[in-house]
């Protein structure tokens, strides 16, 4: 609902009292979710432009030029509130919605990613929610026929009452298929097509049902759109998502600097007796709104009819820059388009100082048995293999998947041999301890996931999931995470091309506010050099050298090791080191491009020990290393093994390539040290202790299954 200030502003702008319908429309359009009224002012922190950017932040989907007229589209959405109410339904409607964002820009959908957050998986309810989410995503995505290329899954008590579901869709198109703006003349027709409209809302009063979307309808819609775009019949296109017809109409009108006249009684309905305002604001899935010139009208309607897609001409283009809504003879709303989209008064928001943390690691007790700690870390909820989840998603449909989920990134081959790696990352623990550093380092983690496969990062998509922005603490967390993502994007010159903000992820339970840890979900894509295949992380030669690139510092606060040893996380999380990160990135990209690396992994959650074991678990070889001394301030075994310092990689290099490898490291001033050799036997020898591959594999693969076995 509008507050007094907003209502006054609306009345002044209209020059009269708003009608009932206008009040409804404006309160939806000026809501935080639709308008980003608390957050928009901070988007200037992001780097948003770049040579490759065809359509940047604010366009619903980002479009990026890969060269040779191959254009990559990406959209990232959150569907947290419906997902909290119903994991299955929320997952389904989230996937359905994000596909629409991409296809409405003229892209063919070629990949999906899902990012999930739940409470402690040892509680049956949380495991059950994960199971339901997996079923919802898998039924929808697999049926529509879009492969899953990656994602993120994190467990933390703070998500107990606010499960998170962020979902991305990747598409591909060519420049002449992009539906850019709206080029139209007054009198052009406005066509609504796709599913029929029902009395549904994504969130809101319980009198509305939740839209579910149907994979079959979506499939038919994708195929039909393909046909319409191929012929160039559409002068403008917008999908109907949150805010329904009102929002889609306003966005479409704004793109073309036009007005629209909409006749609500013409909207094809799934059920009778829907109030006009509910027709206007319905959030039923799988619907599209298009502008069509008179000469193409007949052909468009014929194609829609042939494909059995419900459709109707529901209005026409005007030249008055107004959204005019009629229901039979009554004009029930007439609002300037610009007023709907950006006429809100900026709300006042307050920041506060966030709690100071300490760098002290006095809590560390040097473990007696590192092998045992590493095995326990490998099966811990936030490190263990996600195979239970991702094996439920079709990863190979469309035949372009070069790397399945489970490596550092998923890799797809796009037209004309463009190979693109995709990864998702966010460490909400780091972000809760220091939102700026945590957000920037989450992005750095995503970057290393791409770089370790040989892909050069080209774009960022982000979704900032936070608490209530009307309260100072979560608002400050929001500003700091936005600053973290922004600084990162500028330091590394990687544009943020699409994004989303999900506020209000908190719940009052018995007077206590349960708020999520700030979760700036990062998705990043990277381009592989022409003709190159992605590098994997399993060791692949015996008697090769294993090098550690980067410095390891005594950074144990906020780590998985701290969670394991203390049962909680505290202190200042690992530092964000843009300069060191750049040096190691450039060094590693260069050695991979020159063909000097046999395998590569980056160091992330769990630290060096876990990263090394992941190189053994799925391969045929082991290693014999000496970890007594590595570059950086980490001296004790615990710091060397478990520190989560950023800017680090492990690279396997054969004997003959060593001199050149070291030369490149030197050129880039990247710290490097030889840890030891790979071995023909599948055993991980760390010097003072040894772990058999089968044991490590069992821990790693059992992790998630142990919680899900009753499902």
């Amino acid at each position: 609902m509008l507050d007094d200030r907003e209502r006054d502003q609306l009345t002044i702008a209209l020059g009269r009292e708003p009608t009932e319908t206008e009040l409804h429309i404006v309160s939806v359009m000026w809501s935080e979710r639709r308008s980003y009224k608390s957050s928009k002012r901070w988007f200037q922190l992001f780097k948003t432009d770049g040579e490759r950017v065809v359509l940047g932040l604010g366009g619903g989907a980002g479009l990026v030029d890969l060269g040779d007229d191959v254009i990559l589209g990406i959209a990232l959405e959150s569907n947290n509130h419906p997902f909290q109410v119903n994991s299955y339904g929320g997952a389904t409607s989230g996937v359905a919605g994000v596909i629409s964002d991409v296809i409405s820009h003229g892209c063919r959908p070629i990949g999906l990613m899902n990012c999930l957050r739940f409470g402690d998986p040892r509680k049956p309810k949380n495991a059950e929610n994960l199971g339901d989410a997996a079923r919802g995503i898998s039924e929808f995505a697999n049926s529509v026929g879009i492969p899953m290329v990656g994602g993120d899954l994190e467990f933390d008590e703070s998500f107990e009452r606010n499960n998170l579901f962020n979902v991305a869709c990747i598409g591909v198109t060519e420049s002449d298929r992009i539906v850019r703006g709206v080029v139209s003349q007054p009198g052009d027709s406005l066509i609504l097509f796709g599913a029929k409209t029902a009395n549904e809302r994504l969130s809101g009063p319980s009198k509305y049902t939740t839209p579910m979307g149907s994979p079959l309808t979506k499939r038919i819609l994708i195929d039909t759109l393909e046909q319409l775009l191929e012929e160039g019949f559409l002068a403008g296109l917008e999908d109907l998502g949150g805010g329904g017809l009102a929002s889609a109409g306003a966005k479409l009108a704004a793109k073309g600097n036009i007005g629209l006249n909409i006749l609500l009684e013409r909207v094809p309905l799934k059920e009778e007796d829907i109030e006009p305002v509910d027709i206007l604001l319905s959030e039923s899935q799988d619907r599209m709104l298009a502008v069509v010139a008179p000469q193409n009208l007949e052909s468009v309607l014929r194609i829609l009819d042939e494909n059995e897609v419900p459709n109707a001409v529901i209005g026409w283009v005007t030249d008055d820059d107004m959204l005019t809504i009629r229901y039979y003879v009554d004009e029930i709303a007439k609002v300037p388009v610009i007023l709907l989209l950006s006429g809100f008064p900026e709300p006042k928001r307050y920041e506060e100082y966030l709690e100071e943390r300490t760098t002290s690691t006095a809590w560390v007790k040097e473990p007696d048995d590192h092998a045992e700690v590493l095995l326990r870390l490998l099966e811990s909820a936030n490190i263990t293999s996600r195979e239970w989840l991702y094996s439920q998603f079709d990863q190979h449909i469309q035949g372009n998947t070069l790397v399945d989920i489970g490596e550092n990134s998923g890799v797809l081959e796009l037209p004309k041999g463009k190979r693109v790696a995709f990864t998702a990352a966010c460490n909400s623990t780091w972000c809760s301890l220091d939102p700026f550093t945590g957000a920037a380092n989450s992005a750095a983690l995503a970057l290393r996931n791409l770089v370790s496969m040989g892909a050069k990062p080209i774009l960022i998509a982000d979704c900032l999931n936070l608490g209530n922005p009307e309260r100072p603490e979560p608002y400050s967390q929001f500003v700091e995470t936005a600053r973290g993502v922004g600084e990162f994007s500028r330091h590394f010159d990687i544009p943020v091309v699409t994004g989303n903000v999900s506020p209000y992820n908190e719940a009052d339970v018995d007077g206590v506010c349960l708020r999520i840890k700030p979760t700036p979900q990062i998705i990043m894509a990277g381009l592989l050099p022409e003709g190159r295949l992605p590098l994997r992380r399993s060791l692949c030669t015996p008697w090769a050298n294993v090098f550690l690139v980067g410095e390891t510092h005594r950074e144990l606060n906020g780590t998985e090791f701290q969670r394991f040893q203390l049962g909680r996380t505290e202190g200042i999380p690992p530092g964000y080191q843009p300069e060191a990160e750049k040096r190691t990135m450039n060094a590693v990209l260069s050695v991979i491009e020159k063909g000097l690396a046999r395998s590569c992994n980056n160091v992330g959650r769990g630290g060096l020990g876990v990263a090394l074991l992941k190189m053994v678990i799925r391969g045929n070889y082991g290693f014999r290393l000496d970890l007594s001394d590595v570059p950086g301030t980490a001296k004790k075994q615990s710091a060397i093994l478990y520190s989560e310092s950023s800017a680090r990689y492990i690279v396997e290099v054969t004997e003959t390539k060593q001199p050149e490898f070291l030369k490149v490291m030197n050129q880039h001033r990247a710290a490097v040290c030889e840890l030891g050799l790979t071995m023909a036997e599948p055993t991980a020898s760390f010097g003072s202790f040894v772990i058999q591959r089968e044991k490590a594999r069992k821990s790693y693969e059992n992790g998630l299954r142990q919680y899900m076995k009753n499902l």
Binding site: S138, G399, T401, L533
Partner: protein
């Protein structure tokens, strides 16, 4: 050489037809064409071979959407099976052929109750079929992706399948062992693919059209599709 027309049938909800067509386009002389299930089923009779690709669960959609049309389609598909022309059902296409009683047995929900998507190894039977020429006794690697792929058949049916060599592929591990760990869905005797008695109709759960280039992990699927095209040409 003349071109070999392969009809690729698209039911409502079929989602792999483009992958099959793209894979066939890489085979010299193959001329794939989509036939929509709402079109005249007789179009299938003109083709040299017929492929029914995978898609949404057969039961949920095909039955609900177009019962009358399915009757016509069933008759034509039976006619093709009887004619000896090569026909292949992949994934849910296999399910359709078993529902039409053209292939023995049935496909039930996976043992886990969950969808499964992964690369699997398959042991190809020793007995030669037109689809597996050159692959007899070999281990191939092809992905599966299904919710209902657990092959089931009664005791007598199974005996007949085995005695008349109608089992074409079995799930196995990398060394060719038919272990239960290697069985992705709980199929009886690890069965992944069968042929009809005349050996001109193949049903298989793995997706050969997704294993057609070394870069994606294997081109074993292409060998099966090439055999299919050759068989269609020879007829």
């Amino acid at each position: 050489m003349h071109s070999v027309t392969i009809a690729v049938v698209k039911f409502p909800g079929t989602n792999s037809e483009k992958d099959v067509i793209r894979a066939l386009q890489a085979i010299p002389d193959a001329e794939p064409q989509i036939v929509l299930s709402r079109e005249d089923p007789a179009l299938l009779l003109d083709a040299d071979g017929v492929i029914i690709p995978g898609g949404l669960s057969y039961g949920d959609y095909v039955r609900a959407n177009a019962v009358a049309m399915i009757d016509d389609m069933r008759d034509v598909i039976r006619e093709i099976a009887d004619s000896g022309k090569p026909m292949m059902g992949i994934g849910n296409g296999f399910q359709i052929l078993s529902e039409f009683k053209i292939l023995p047995g049935s496909l039930k929900p996976n043992k886990t109750g969950r969808f499964v998507s992964k690369w699997v190894y398959l042991r190809v039977c020793e007995n030669p079929t037109m689809f597996t020429e050159g692959l007899e006794g070999k281990i191939v690697r092809i992905p599966v992706a299904h919710l209902e792929g657990r092959y089931q058949i009664g005791k007598k049916g199974l005996e007949k399948l085995n005695s008349s060599h109608e089992v074409v592929m079995k799930y196995c591990d990398v060394d060719g062992e038919m272990t239960s760990d290697a069985n992705p869905n709980g199929s009886i005797e690890n069965i992944a693919a069968v042929v009809n008695e005349k050996e001109n109709v193949l049903g298989l759960m793995p997706h050969p059209e997704r294993a057609v280039r070394g870069e994606v992990g294997s081109n074993d699927g292409l060998l099966i599709l090439e055999n299919f095209v050759r068989a269609a040409e020879e007829r």
